[in-house]
Amino acid sequence: MVSLNETATLWSQRLRRATSGGLMGSVADVDNPGPDCCWLICDVCCWVVC
């Protein structure tokens, strides 16, 4: 079995880091967006939160 993505990047792992405050930058701070916040986009109406 060859993994195409690292186990550390799996959703459960990433969310664990997010909920324990381990994400880089301010996740949802519109004034100070961090590198991990780009998935916080309102996708249907397409305006960018950060």
């Binding site: 079995m1 186990t7 990047t9 459960s12 519109v30 397409c46 305006w47």
Partner: protein, 463 residues
């Protein structure tokens, strides 16, 4: 052991298969021996797995001791997503009017709605801000964001009320985003300057090079709007307002994407602070538009992937995250999970409880596509504030965790259960899934991946 129903297996070559897990986001390649064991597990049998196989499959969340643990893992990820999402600003979408000065060939809003002459008055503004505070009072720590939407929010007729909205938003410390066709932006930019700091960015639609855009996005008298929009975009850059360019994509403007990317380069927009350009497939959730150039996401897979193979640098210029399913797949499979894509438990923010829309008639909606559809309003803010908890619960309770059809679906967290408003119109309730073409997007992408894999294998063999 229990194999999650969120796993699917797809043949890549005669002896290799791709394993995709929509519970954990894992993607793996397995040989035929393990493939056969996984198929047996799927049938509830107990094949002999080696210790290493068992360890890998558990570590990647394919295998669980039983159904209950698998369900608990699914719910744990959902709860974590909810927890992270709660850090986002609450969004209050304000439609100063439903009127629009353009007559775009594919608009999802009915002509009847766009022709309504109703506009918000000064008297609506304090009531609207009171309603925002009432709605947000249970979540005092969350930031509030105002989004000006329409119709077209930036019209000469709305200038006074827009100025009042900006002033009040500035006083309250709310960030403001604009969703505009850009035709009157240049006129409004000086106004934004007065309330500097409040307006964070503008989503402006430009559908291609001038001859293409002008056919699609015309003023009501038939003139093209390209020149006006470009003037507005460049006025934003001059005043430091971030521009999120939106390209509504279908078979009419698809052949002109490369020319459009060249235009962005020539005008020096790429690299402007905060600039991004998003491709958005034109959708018709209710199936009522009769627009002849619509393409499903499945139909867009092939030409878009062709373009990226031919011009890989355009992938950085033309953001395609609004291709909901394809973006998930490519970001997981091709970016080795480095991209920030996460599972989609809700199709859109209408069901997440993060967004409320205020119409000029005094009504409150949760879905921006349902504005003007009075029967589907969830309350009102003028003349008096009132929300229907019963109606809100129908929307906010909808996710792949609660939709019956999504319980065993192998791609539910790639698609989010589909459009709630479409479900409401089609079935009379948002609590039904709208599967649309999510499965066929997966198949179209995998078919492409399969041929690429075979090609790579041939190249390797040729050495």
């Amino acid at each position: 052991m229990y194999l999650t129903p969120r796993a699917t297996i797809h043949r890549l070559s005669p002896d290799r298969s791709l394993l995709i897990n929509s519970l954990s986001g894992a993607v793996d390649i397995v040989d035929d021996e393990l493939r056969a064991k996984l198929l047996e597990l799927g049938l509830g049998r107990r094949p002999a797995l080696s210790d290493q196989e068992t360890k890998s499959l558990i570590g990647r969340s394919y295998l669980f001791p039983d159904w209950g643990r698998e369900r608990a893992a699914f719910l744990e990820i959902y709860q974590a997503c909810q927890q992270v999402a709660a850090r986002r600003p609450l969004q209050f979408v304000v439609c100063p009017t439903y009127t629009c000065n353009l007559a775009c060939s594919y608009c999802f809003q009915s002509d009847q709605l766009r022709s309504r002459r109703q506009a918000m008055t000064q008297a609506h503004v304090p009531l609207l801000f009171q309603a925002i505070e009432r709605i947000a009072e249970t979540q005092p720590d969350r930031k509030r964001q105002l989004v000006l939407f329409g119709g077209e929010p930036l019209l000469p007729a709305t200038e006074t009320v827009v100025e009042t909205l900006l002033r009040r938003a500035g006083e309250k410390g709310y960030a403001v985003q604009l969703v505009t066709n850009g035709t009157h932006l240049a006129r409004f930019v000086s106004l934004f300057h007065l309330y500097e700091g409040a307006v964070k960015g503008a989503q402006i639609t430009l559908d291609g090079p001038q001859p293409v855009h002008d056919v699609r996005r015309r003023w009501r008298d038939g003139r093209g709007s390209f020149e006006d929009v470009v003037t507005g975009i460049e006025a934003c850059f001059e005043h430091g307002i971030a521009v999120n360019l939106r390209v509504n994509l279908d078979s009419h403007n698809l052949p002109h994407l490369e020319a459009f990317a060249a235009l962005l380069q020539e005008r020096g927009w790429i690299g402007q602070p905060g600039f991004r350009c998003q491709l958005a497939p034109v959708t018709d959730h209710l199936g009522t538009s009769g627009y002849p150039f619509l393409m499903t996401e499945t139909q867009l897979v092939e030409p878009v992937l062709d373009l990226w193979e031919r011009r890989p640098e355009l992938r950085r210029v033309l953001d395609f995250r609004l291709f909901r399913v394809l973006h998930h797949l490519t970001s997981v499979i091709e970016d080795q999970g480095r991209s920030a894509t996460m599972p989609r438990f809700h199709y859109c923010e209408a069901c997440r409880g993060d967004l409320y829309t205020f119409g000029p008639e005094g009504l409150v909606y949760v879905c921006t596509e349902s504005i003007g559809d009075r029967g589907n309003a969830v309350g009102r803010y003028a003349p008096r504030f009132r929300l229907s908890r019963k109606k809100l619960t129908r929307w906010h309770g909808r996710s792949v965790v609660t939709l019956t059809e999504c319980q065993e679906c192998s791609i539910a967290t790639f698609c989010g259960g589909g459009c709630a408003y479409a479900a409401l119109k089609r079935y009379g309730t948002p609590m039904r899934a709208i599967c649309d073409d999510a499965q066929s997007v997966v198949q179209a992408y995998l078919s492409r991946l399969r041929s690429r894999y075979r090609q790579d294998a041939r190249m390797t063999a040729m050495g």
